[in-house]
């Protein structure tokens, strides 16, 4: 009889322990949603790291300045590239107690909130203030779903930047020409390899780093217009340019550090700056990361647009939306959205965040050299949305793409990749 009793006791202990663990997770209280008073504002985001938090404070100070006596509750949730914050937000939306405003990527990610009827239609606010004319057409369009505006853009990141290590490149006597196309890039990388160095740093423990590399190659091979047509199913993943891009991707992967699946994107960027390899493809949030790591732009690291047949700007946007129902402080939320569109606020925000302002009238003369170049390119290049960041398409299609890239990384089977993506184009768009 001893043993069954012991078993029962240990099972009971386990059950009790898991119950305690479960109750520990329920701490997502809607902070600051107390009743009364229009002089309060609660904002959620996933900006918690040093430079991000500073940038968010610029916005908070801005709205406080526009509305005297306003108390702002910064309810940022850290971790998981924003996925933790989105899970917490989803729980609050389901419970009917949303914050006054939350951070969102435009287009694809925005669409899931629109489909759920959870974000307010801001079209009236947009037309009243004539915001659409103040930014590039592509940015304005990304803030829409089915022709209506649901979000306000605060900044623009670029996804297709090739960060380079000048010392490693010059040692191999290589110069990467952004107009040289993917073929030019690959031959340069092979030259680096021949000189005895690792050509590419990649850190795809989180798969988005590979997804972003492959998407940059596809864009370069197929061109901006075809890339956009993928998401209306007018251009297939079965196209010869995509097949070529998959071959290129395989080649570039073979030129990368062998431990790429064990390291994260920021570790890979720093490896590049430390001279472990020649190049690293990453969005321009890497710029802030490298500067924070005391690396000098221009000497420790440099940058070129990912080489392609035309100048493409892979747009990853940040913006804010407000809830359609149960908004606690509507007036303050309105003031918040207007603050975000203030050109001076956008400039100050960009200075901290490393992105570039979304509005054209913002003064960029005080920003870093990289940001000024990016802003110039943003005005002239063809702007497309990133799929790796679920902006070009909805969450389901983006997840299918991420899974297909993971599978391809293991098997190198291009046919299987194309089969699953063409299938997804038919059923998930």
């Amino acid at each position: 009889m001893r043993a069954p009793n012991k078993l029962k006791i240990s099972l009971a202990v386990t059950a009790a322990a898991s119950l305690i663990a479960a109750t520990g997770c329920s701490a997502n209280q809607p902070a600051g949603s107390s009743a009364g008073g229009s002089d309060k504002l609660e904002i959620t985001s996933w900006w918690t790291s040093g430079s991000e938090a500073d940038a968010l404070n610029v916005l908070i100070d801005g709205v406080k300045a526009s509305k005297a006596g306003l108390a702002v509750d910064n309810a940022a949730v850290s971790g998981g590239g924003g996925s933790n914050a989105r899970q917490a937000l989803a729980a609050r939306l389901q419970a009917g107690s949303p914050p006054d405003s939350w951070q969102v990527h435009p287009a694809g990610q925005l669409k899931s909130y629109v489909d759920g009827g959870q974000v307010a239609d801001l079209t009236e606010l947009w037309t009243q203030n004539d915001w659409a004319s103040q930014m590039p057409k592509d940015v304005a369009e990304a803030q829409q779903v089915n022709g209506k505006y649901y979000t306000v853009p605060i900044g623009v990141h670029r996804g297709n930047v090739l960060w380079t290590n000048p010392a490693v490149l010059s040692k191999a006597n290589v110069k990467i020409d952004p107009a040289g196309g993917v073929d030019g890039l690959i031959s340069s990388l092979k030259q680096v390899q021949a000189a005895g160095a690792t050509p590419v740093c990649l850190g795809d423990k989180d798969i988005f780093a590979s997804s972003q590399l492959l998407e940059s190659i596809i864009m370069s091979r197929a061109g901006a217009d075809n890339w956009k047509k993928i998401f209306t199913n007018e251009y297939s993943f079965d196209a010869p340019e995509v097949k070529q891009a998959l071959e290129d991707y395989k080649t570039i992967l073979s030129l990368a550090n062998k431990d790429h699946s064990a390291i994260t994107w920021d570790e890979a960027s720093k490896k590049m700056a430390n001279g472990a390899c020649a190049v690293n493809l990453m969005g321009d949030w890497a710029y802030g990361e490298l500067v924070n790591a005391k690396k000098k732009p221009g000497t420790d690291f440099a940058w070129v647009t990912f080489p392609g047949k035309e100048d493409i700007f892979d747009y990853v946007g940040d913006g804010f939306s407000i809830p359609a129902n149960n908004i606690p402080h509507a007036e303050a939320a309105n003031a918040w959205l207007k603050t975000l569109m203030d050109p001076k606020v956008q400039t100050d925000f960009a200075a901290k965040k490393g992105s570039i302002p979304a509005v054209k009238s913002a003064d960029i003369s005080g920003l870093s050299q990289y940001q000024q170049e990016a802003a110039k390119s943003f005005a002239s290049a063809k702007v497309v949305s990133s799929l790796a960041h679920a902006q070009a398409a909805g969450a389901e299609f983006a997840q299918t793409y991420a899974d297909a890239v993971s599978t391809f990384n293991g098997s190198g089977n291009a046919d299987a990749f194309i089969a699953s993506m063409t299938q997804a184009q038919k059923t998930q768009l």
Binding site: R2, A3, P4, K6, L7, S10, L11, T14, S83, R86, Q87, A90, L93, Q94, S112, Y113, D115, G116, G117, Q118, K205, D206, I207, N257, K258, D259, H260, S261, A262, I263, G394, A395, E396, A398, Q399, A402, D403, S406, T407, F408, N409, G410, S411, N413, D415, A416, A419, S420
Partner: protein, 335 residues
């Protein structure tokens, strides 16, 4: 009032007076029912109703986590038909089965050996016990980060191997090789993964076993303490050697501890998530992906798929637990 006046004559009536006995029993069982009701209700609601809801969602059209769609998907069970064809799903099932089998063998054997060692060692018993049990007190995330550094191909243990003159040390969690693969899929067949032992999973299994060995050891130490000394003494007198005593007296009496370890460690293995996330993530070609990560990834993009995977995970668990429960129930009835 009428009942109270009607009752008193009853005891006076002739017969075996069963009326007095029955209400007492009924009262106790009613009281028992009331005492148990809240916990029954809570466990019914939070376990079985929620399982039911998850089953329903897995059969519905609910895709985006934030916008519920409770209409049933046609044909029924289409989500299950969809996911079993996925390369990722097949890799996950392979991985979780391999993980569970190797992990259970390592953790239980390791725990048994550690317990036998500590039980028989004469000095530093407490020290060894603490040393073995300590990892169990840590979170998987904490040990996962440490193990990630140890098995990082460019640093960690490979530095030692390189200093010993090994030119090409293993890639550990980054190695996409499948050991002893039974098939070689072309990519268009139904089976999209190689079935075998993913090399990248081995460091993770080792780390998990390392952490849970202390738990198995504690179980076995309790079991060892309950074996009567007389049995062993009698066996020694009869001339049994160490191995014979272990084989015929100790191990059979430790069987209940083994079963307990098996059941408790099994659920650790099936729902493993945090350790894998910290050590390697999904890995190239999903060589280290597990159902827990699948569910987490699809929570916001495909709620129905995440739910279907959760149900499949539940069925996997039931496939092992139900025979065990039936066996225990039969034994109890025999006793």
């Amino acid at each position: 009032m009428t009942t109270s006046t009607a009752l008193p004559p009853a005891p006076a009536s002739p017969g075996p007076r069963p009326t007095k006995q029955v209400p007492h029993n009924v009262k106790t069982s009613r009281r028992a029912a009331w005492i148990f009701a809240p916990s029954l209700l809570v466990s019914f609601l939070f376990v079985y109703v929620f399982i039911g809801i998850t089953v329903y969602i897995s059969l519905s059209n609910w895709k985006i986590g934030t916008s519920p769609n409770l209409s049933l998907r046609q044909p029924l069970g289409g989500t299950y038909a969809e996911i079993v064809q996925e390369q990722r799903f097949q890799a996950d099932i392979r991985n979780v089965v391999i993980f569970t089998v190797i992990f259970l063998v390592l953790a239980i054997l390791g725990g048994l050996i550690a317990a036998l060692f500590i039980h028989h060692v004469s000095v530093g018993k407490g020290l060894f016990r603490t040393v073995f049990l300590l990892p169990y007190a840590l979170s998987f995330i904490v040990t996962g980060v440490a193990w990630r550094w140890i098995f990082s191909p460019s640093t960690g243990v490979n530095e030692i191997l390189r200093s010993m003159g090994i030119e090409n040390p293993p890639g550990w969690t980054t190695d996409p090789t499948i050991l002893g693969a039974l098939n070689n899929p072309s990519g268009t067949d139904f089976l999209k993964v190689q079935f075998g032992i993913p090399v990248a999973l081995l460091p993770i299994i080792f780390a998990a076993a390392w952490q849970l060995v202390g738990f198995a050891m504690a179980m076995y130490l309790a079991g060892l303490a309950s074996i009567p000394e007389e049995h062993l003494e009698a066996a020694s007198v009869d001339g049994a050697n160490v191995w014979q005593r272990l084989r015929h007296i100790v191990l059979p009496q430790l069987w209940p501890s083994t079963i307990t370890c098996f059941v408790l460690l099994l659920h650790v293995a099936l729902k493993i998530f945090d350790l894998v996330v910290a050590m390697s993530g999904s890995g190239p070609g999903f060589v280290t992906d597990v159902p827990g990560i699948y569910i987490y990834n699809y929570l916001t993009s495909r709620y129905d798929k995440a739910s279907a995977m959760a149900i499949i995970l539940l069925l996997l668990t039931l496939a092992v637990i139900v025979p065990y429960l039936i066996r225990g129930y039969r034994k109890e009835r025999k006793a």
